[in-house]
């Protein structure tokens, strides 16, 4: 009986390792592999913040849009892209270069069958299925937590990384939390909130320029704040803006951008005895943001 118990315990412990060792074949498998719902029981506030964030819906665009649909369209069809194929069954992970940031776990942990299933879901406008694919706790607190891999090694399986170490973390899969060297640094966010053109692909494309703007226009002017200083105050995992929340987005923008206006009315003397009644409006927009607006 004791032996049977031991076998069962070993089996339970090894299940997550088996899951991690194999690549996901379906959207459900990938979602399960990176499921963060366990985190909710202890980190309810952070989880609730994250649930409203764009990280929780990285393939959904703004206000329910499906930003990857053009890639799923058949090659040659109006609106299709260079990454589209003539048959959804031909779609591979490499046909979705957006996964670099919008679903990085697909690159490391998904079979091409996930790309086919995603393509079909996009064409069917199956938002519920696509919404299962998220950038959750594990992506940021494991996969993306180490960038100095030659010196520090790859993120360890079963280990979370955060701003401080926790020797004993009461979770079935992630029993340890180690300190990430970069998690409070802007370069951490810069992994995805980019530098400009992604020229490493066989068809270049450009998404966010945000980190480039931060480096070349904010830091270069003497700016010293990090992305986290402004967008993760008190550890807020909403990481605003949330463009689905109009009021909050407006407030955030109003806080970052000031508008000063001066107006003058007078009669301009273009030539003798010829007056032109005129209004002159001088506007000045000043930004306290650490990056260009707009960007992403």
């Amino acid at each position: 009986m004791k032996f049977l118990k031991l076998v069962l315990v070993l089996l339970v412990i090894s299940v997550p390792l088996i899951v991690f060792a194999e690549k996901a074949k379906t959207i459900d498998e990938l979602a399960k592999m990176y499921d963060s719902s366990n985190c909710k029981s202890c980190h309810a506030e952070i989880y609730a913040q994250w649930e409203k964030s764009h990280h929780a819906r990285p393939l959904m665009g703004v206000k329910g849009g499906l930003m990857l649909t053009p890639l799923a369209l058949k090659k040659g069809e109006k609106g299709a892209t260079a990454f589209s194929e003539d048959d959804p069954k031909k779609m591979k992970i490499s046909n979705f270069p957006c996964f670099k940031c919008h679903l990085p776990q697909a690159i490391t942990s998904a079979e091409d069958s996930v790309a086919v299933e995603l393509t079909e879901a996009l064409l069917a406008n199956d938002s519920a299925k696509i919404a299962k694919l998220q950038i959750g706790c594990i992506v940021c607190h494991n996969d993306k937590a180490i960038i100095h891999k030659r010196e520090l090694g790859a993120p360890e399986k079963g280990v979370l990384y955060s701003t401080k170490a926790v020797a004993s973390h009461p979770d079935r899969m992630f029993k340890t939390v180690k300190k990430s060297a970069i998690m409070t640094n802007s370069v951490y966010c810069g992994q995805c909130h980019g530098l400009g053109p992604n020229l490493e692909f066989d068809q270049p494309f450009q998404c966010a320029n945000l980190y480039g703007s931060y480096l070349h226009n904010y830091v270069s002017g003497g700016g010293t704040k990090s992305c986290q200083d402004c967008h993760m105050k008190k550890g807020d995992h909403l990481i605003a803006p949330n463009f689905n929340d109009d009021k909050q987005t407006s407030a955030l923008l109003a806080d970052a951008l000031s508008l000063d206006v001066e107006a003058l009315g007078y009669e301009w003397l273009r030539k003798a005895n010829t007056y032109t009644p005129k209004i002159v409006v001088n506007t000045k927009i000043t930004s306290s943001a650490g990056h260009r607006i707009p960007d992403g």
């Binding site: 002017g221 951008l257 000031s258 009315g265 001088n282 927009i285 000043t286 260009r292």
Partner: protein
């Protein structure tokens, strides 16, 4: 940003817009592209940058007989399409030529 001048009875007598955003093409033609999958690189950038206040001077000539106007400066953010607006600041100034 939209700057609109109106007479006291609400008639529009002048309107100007300024657009602040990076603008990209696919580097194969001259058409601006929207959407990461089509863009390759910025060719122009009018966005609002840190440490660089964006200053504009906008002039309206008043029609004959008009001696005053309300000028409204509406600063807003657009995401995805021009119909999806997030208001930022709206300031109205009454300007008169009469002392």
């Amino acid at each position: 940003m939209e700057v609109t001048a109106r007479t006291a009875d609400g008639k529009e007598i002048g309107k100007e817009e300024r657009h602040y955003h990076p603008q990209a093409t696919n580097c194969r033609d001259t058409k601006e592209k929207y959407g990461a999958q089509w863009k390759v690189a910025n060719i122009r950038d009018t966005s609002i940058q840190p440490h660089q206040p964006k200053k504009e001077t906008i002039e309206f000539d008043l029609p004959e007989g008009v001696r005053a106007a309300d000028v409204t400066i509406d600063l807003f953010y657009e995401a995805v399409n021009p119909d999806n607006k997030y208001p930022i600041h709206k300031i109205t100034k009454n300007v008169s030529l009469d002392k």
